[in-house]
């Protein structure tokens, strides 16, 4: 079984490749405000997050702050 840490880095790596960044995406960077992701990639990112955590993610008003940055994702969806 992958550890939480491994799963989280795989998710970061998936996003990096998807948005074609050269270096790793800074954990604190606001992904939406800085237009790292568009709507389509954001939806796929949520799907990837579901696959990696086994959780079902509902899109509602409370979601945005929980997924605004990779650091926020780590806090809310991965046990440390």
């Amino acid at each position: 079984m992958d550890t939480e840490e491994q799963k989280f880095s795989e998710l970061c790596e998936w996003l990096r490749l998807k948005v074609k960044w050269q270096d790793s995406i800074p954990l604190e960077l606001d992904l939406i405000e800085n237009k790292v992701v568009n709507s389509l990639i954001f939806v796929e990112f949520l799907m990837m997050l579901e696959e990696s955590t086994g959780l079902e993610i509902i899109i509602d008003d409370t979601l945005q702050p929980k997924v605004a940055s990779l650091a926020a994702v780590k806090t809310h969806f991965f046990n440390q």
């Binding site: 389509l40 954001f42 939806v43 796929e44 949520l46 079902e56 993610i57 509902i58 899109i59």
Partner: protein, 282 residues
Amino acid sequence: MNTLLLRADNLSKLSVKKHNVAFAHFDWPDSIPHDTWWQSPDLLTPALTDKLQNYNQQELMELSRWECINSFSLNYTGELELIQEVSRILDKVKLDEAREYLFHLIDEENQHMWYFRKFCLDYAGKVYPNKKFQLEKASLTPAQDHFLVFARILIFEEVGHYFNVQNARDDRVHPFIREINQEHYRDESRHIAYGRQVLEHLAADALAEEGSDRLLAAQLDKSIAINIGALYNPAAYRDAGLQKGMQIRDALLSDPARIDFHETKLLGNFKRLMERIGIPLS
């Protein structure tokens, strides 16, 4: 009466005549067996590709079950959004007397929502949550906004319509599921006829400003990608017992046979209409 009014008036009459009220219409079976087709095998997302041979019949039937739940969930969440959007513009959109039909549209979609949601919960214990999401809010004139509401509805309905027709027609599919598809198909043919007329009617105002065609095209290209992408739900692959749902989704979404299927069978009518109206989709 102009053609839009005449058509809308006839469609309203048909809705009144047909008013069978879905709440009492269906005979709901206690259960639906797993080892049957819940969706036409021709509609499975691996259909038409060489990935189909990776699965045996039992796995494909299980996949048909979860892809049926996915498409019924998309109907439910899409219809919910449709009602919200149509209600939002109901007394603002310039439709004159053809506005009358919107009350039937909302009424019928409300019934559809009820049976699609009930089906998912009764026979699978879940509805897949909405994954359609728009981050970027474009600034639009009211006329552009109203046009996009109806154009997005038409994309959603044309895609769903193809599924309804194929499932209703395919005698391998479980009879109750065929009946639901058939019933939905009947209402949706009226909605689609109305939607096409409305778009032609609203187009002139929506395209009045310089650059509107490209702005609307960009918005609609995004909506198309979201609607098509939603058919390939990694959670449905996982529920069907297939591992690495995201990989399956990526491989199928980029398969040339699937792209051709989207362009011709699902989007052909919509794209031809937009071309005629003067909106250059990609």
